[in-house]
């Protein structure tokens, strides 16, 4: 596993050509991915073509951070002419006729897209086990899950099958798999990155974010993909920051909130102690640790599942077999055709969420469910505001446990939902957060910590994560 920063130097000093670099990654995918199933599609031809173009840019002295760098893209981000399946039978053969804004931006700087990564179906899940194309396995232990929903993205970075990845994060889907796979994942502020071309799960929570070897690399990718997009009315009109701009600055005097609810009973002891020892690192670096509180955390998972499922139920209604995607061959009437298409085309988890979402929105239940969830959303935002009145960022575990065994929660979905407790509030409040590895448990599985920032405070949390990473010895996955 090599950082983009290092690869950049190698490319710029002609130690390796972009073509060779891409080929090396493609070879490794062929050799290794069979063990972890991180890719749904590998685009050998277009990647080789892009590498050639990238080398031209390098030769002309027009290279920037991602020129010639092999990147993977989550399979819910539309790529022109390349299948974009959302890991669903419903979109098994769906080939977009346009590029997502982030993909356009990657292409514009000469990044090389290696392929499309595996995920939970329609990004619904935290383990990448709901994929129609089989589950993603953890590079540290292939009997364990990769996390999700961007499990393929995180595993592809962790196993060295790309130099960086684009994932998407609706309730933790970038940070949690990054944590499980021992890499770094950044969920940007809502509106920082255009969602145009991201196949919607829950529109008010979805954000595309980078997964990479380091915080510095995540910042470099974010520099490319962030920015206002007229195609996304929810994207923020801000002049782009240099997201890596604060790296190396002294942390002295930084106030880090430690919210006690995130270190409660549900959090595994080894996770707790690893995150708290990272907190100790920050204290020694001159930061002030502040005890803070988020009383509404106990309602967060419920609110998250109601809001995200309600939006998902609506967003996924367009898959009716009429215009694109899977169409059932059974059904005499329009109603039957739609029913059978959706029955056959969606997996179980997706159907659960559609049912839940429609129930929460249906007349007579709207106030009790959707409306109350919206109230909790307002309350959580307020509690974050209160916390940020006292501190610059917040430190929490990324997940209550390390990566668990494949199939472990098969009969207890609610338990799996509850595992999102550490990540969902960030999406609910639209804030940025970065997860990086802060330790390993007794079995050698990575433990992740998350640093949550103020809205558009990506540069600060990247700098804080980078400071930790610079002194932390990563243990690479061996496949």
């Amino acid at each position: 596993m090599m950082s983009i920063a290092k690869l950049r130097k190698m490319l710029d000093t002609r130690q390796i050509s972009a073509i060779e670099l891409t080929q090396a990654y493609l070879n490794k995918i062929k050799e290794v991915d069979i063990k972890i199933n991180s890719y749904i599609s590998v685009c050998e031809e277009s990647a080789a073509g892009a590498a050639k173009e990238a080398q031209k840019l390098i030769d002309e002295g027009k290279a920037s951070f991602l020129t010639g760098i092999p990147i993977s893209v989550k399979d819910n981000i539309c790529t022109l002419g390349i299948k974009t399946t959302c890991a669903s039978k419903m979109l098994e053969d769906f080939v977009p006729i346009y590029d997502a804004t982030v993909v356009q931006k990657l292409k514009a700087v000469g990044a090389v897209i290696l392929g499309k990564t595996n995920m939970d179906e329609f990004a619904m899940g935290g383990s990448s086990q709901t994929s129609y194309f089989g589950c993603v396995r953890n590079p540290y232990d292939t009997s364990r899950v990769s996390g999700g929903s961007s499990g393929g993205a995180a595993a592809s970075v962790s196993a060295g099958l790309c130099a960086g990845a684009l994932g998407s994060d609706t309730g933790g889907s970038v940070r949690q798999p990054a944590s499980f796979c021992g890499v770094t994942g950044l969920k940007p502020t809502y509106g920082a990155v255009s969602r145009y071309g991201l196949i919607a799960f829950a529109s008010s929570l979805d954000q595309i974010g980078p997964i990479a070897y380091s915080a510095e690399d995540c910042g470099g990718i974010l520099n490319v993909i962030a920015g206002y997009d007229e195609n996304d009315a929810t994207s923020a009109k801000r002049t782009q920051n240099s997201f890596g701009g604060k790296i190396g600055m002294s942390l002295k005097g930084m106030k880090i909130g430690i919210p006690k609810e995130f270190f409660g009973n549900g959090i595994h002891d080894e996770v707790k102690s690893a995150v708290l020892s990272a907190a100790d690192f920050y204290r020694q670096a001159g930061c002030e640790l502040v005890d803070v509180s988020m009383p509404s955390l106990e309602y967060a998972v419920s609110a998250y599942y109601l809001i995200s499922s309600a939006e998902a139920a609506s967003n996924l209604s367009r898959y009716d077999g009429i215009k694109f995607g899977y169409r059932s061959t059974n059904g005499e009437s329009y109603e039957e055709l739609v029913k059978n298409t959706r029955r056959e085309g969606f997996g179980e988890e997706v159907k659960h969420r559609i049912l839940l979402g429609n129930y929460a929105l249906s007349s007579g239940y709207y106030d009790a469910y959707y409306n109350n969830a919206s109230k909790i959303r307002t309350q959580i935002k307020k509690e974050y505001n209160d916390i940020f009145a006292q501190c610059d960022c917040i430190l929490t575990p990324t997940a209550p446990t390390v990566a668990y065994r494949i199939g472990e929660f098969e009969n207890d979905p609610v338990k799996m939902y509850l595992a999102d407790i550490c990540t969902v509030t960030v999406n609910i409040a639209g804030l940025p957060a970065i997860s990086t590895t802060c330790g390993y448990d007794s079995a050698g599985m990575p433990i992740g910590m998350s640093i949550v920032g103020k809205a558009f405070g990506e540069a600060e949390i990247i700098a804080a994560a980078d400071a930790f990473e610079k002194q932390f010895a990563r243990q690479e996955a061996v496949l």
């Binding site: 929810t234 939006e311 139920a313 367009r318 009429i322 109603e335 429609n358 007349s363």
Partner: protein
């Protein structure tokens, strides 16, 4: 028993934006099937709606035109239902926070209250091949911006409803919001109607008749419903709350779905579109940019232009005609004469040819010039009609037409004088007879003058000159 009909309307009006409400496809009517479709309005996965600010401005103008409050904060919601003409399987609309509220329109001295106006997107069209048993979807209309105008149940008869729709359509046209072409579906009406016994103040159970696309069908549907519901109530039975469809061929309404079968639309806030915000300054800028509304124009015509009320009303009732008149009146301030030519001759020609004012081959300036020629005594009243007819048929310049057709009246006194001298010299007997008191001979002599001078002779001038010469 006698009942009072209680009627409320929902008027759907397509707004006159160039592009659709959430994408840049053309919003024009028609076009080859699915030729005005992009990934956005086809609802392709990953696409997002981007609100057309032009549509927002027009909706605000509709609000001002109908005396509404235009709200500084409004927001979009999703209305979820499956139908093959709706590619996303939800319609983006405004449910909780519409852009306009609390309006009113005065009809026959009575205020009809408007509950709200909201912005929404139109759906596509389905084309059924009954013979083959296949249906096709045309998404050209998907995403065309609509406003829905919802009234309070203040209307009490079919005629009132018709008059209200006419007035709303006229105001929307003047405001530049909608062309109100019901035959093209750019204005469609849903009627909610119930009956209430005389003397009662409690509304009955209503039926909703969907998608009426002509004034005539609105009237017929309401009249049919009044009859149908009266019969039910007279039998002591209850009207069922339901949605009904009007059949134009049979002139009746048929149940579509009952209240129990009604969709649960599962409305919730549209997360892809931020709320629509107006500052005070923005609202007053829109208000100031409002075109002249019918009432104002009526006052201008009657007070400034001195037109009779009847003429002013006739002109204003047809916005295109009125605009044409205005443009002509700007070229030539003979307001009344121009109004006469427009209301009599122009309308006659339009009716005879079955054309619209927008189809004519000549400009308002051409028409103004005809009136000018007539004012100046260069052509006769009859010639003005003839020139207009020629303009109508083949266009051209009125003066050229007048010349080419020998319609310019000879107003050159010396030329006429010599003609008269000649006539007098050649008809010495008649002149003698006239001078000795035979007045009838004057007509004969006048006829000779006209014969010599041609049709273009200014008759008044010729008459005066002839009299003078004969008196010498």
């Amino acid at each position: 028993m006698r009942y009072i009909p209680v009627i409320g309307l929902e008027i759907h009006a397509e707004m006159l934006t160039h592009s659709k409400v959430f994408c840049t496809c053309s919003a024009e009517f028609g076009g080859e099937e699915n030729s005005r479709v992009c990934p956005r309005c086809a609802g392709l996965p990953g696409t997002l709606p981007v609100l057309n600010q032009g549509a927002v401005t027009l909706a605000a103008k509709a609000g001002f035109a109908l005396d509404c409050t235009v709200n500084p904060y409004s927001a979009f919601d999703r209305k979820n239902y499956f139908y093959p003409d709706l590619p996303k399987a939800y319609q983006i609309t405004q449910f909780e926070k519409p852009i306009c509220t609390d309006g009113k329109v005065n009809i026959r001295g009575k205020d009809i209250r408007i509950n709200r106006i909201h912005i929404e997107e139109d759906a596509g069209k389905l084309i059924h091949d009954e013979y083959e048993g296949i249906s096709f979807a045309d998404y050209n209309r998907c995403g065309v911006p609509l406003i829905e105008i919802v009234t309070e149940p203040d209307l009490r008869s079919a005629d009132e409803a018709k008059e209200f729709v006419e007035e709303v359509a006229l105001r929307l046209k003047y405001a530049g919001v909608c062309d109100a072409r019901m035959e093209q579906g750019s204005l469609r009406v849903d009627v909610n109607i119930s009956l209430m016994p005389y003397g009662s103040s409690e509304f009955g159970t209503r039926a909703e008749i969907k998608n009426l696309n002509s004034l005539k069908s609105i009237v017929r549907a309401i009249e049919y419903e009044i009859e149908r519901q009266t019969e039910i109530l007279d039998k002591g039975e209850k009207v069922v709350q339901e949605t009904r469809r009007f059949n134009d061929n049979h002139g009746n309404t048929k149940a579509l779905r009952s209240k129990e079968e009604a969709h649960d639309y599962r409305y919730f806030p549209e997360p892809d579109i931020p709320p629509v915000l107006f500052s005070e300054a923005e609202l007053s800028a829109i208000r100031e940019s409002m075109p002249e509304m019918p009432q104002k124009r009526f006052e201008r015509y009657t007070k400034e232009y001195g037109l009779p009320e009847k003429d002013a009303e006739l002109l204003i009732g047809d916005k295109d005609l009125s605009d044409f008149y205005d443009a002509a009146a700007r070229c030539n301030p003979s307001y009344k004469a121009i109004a006469n030519l427009v209301l009599v001759e122009l309308l006659r020609n339009l009716n005879d040819s079955g054309m619209c004012i927008s189809d004519v081959k000549f400009s308002p300036a051409n028409l103004a010039q005809i009136v000018k020629l007539s004012d100046e005594g260069k052509i006769s009243k009859n010639a003005a009609k003839d020139i207009l007819k020629i303009l109508f048929e083949s266009g051209g310049d009125p003066l050229e037409i007048a010349k080419a057709n020998n319609l310019i009246m000879e107003s050159d006194a010396s030329a006429l004088e010599s003609i008269i001298d000649k006539v007098i010299a050649e008809n010495a007997d008649s002149v003698e007879s006239y001078k000795s008191g035979n007045q009838k001979v004057f007509g004969f002599l006048m006829g000779q003058v006209v014969k010599e001078a041609g049709k273009g002779a200014n008759p008044q001038l010729a008459r005066d000159l002839l009299m003078k010469k004969l008196a010498d």
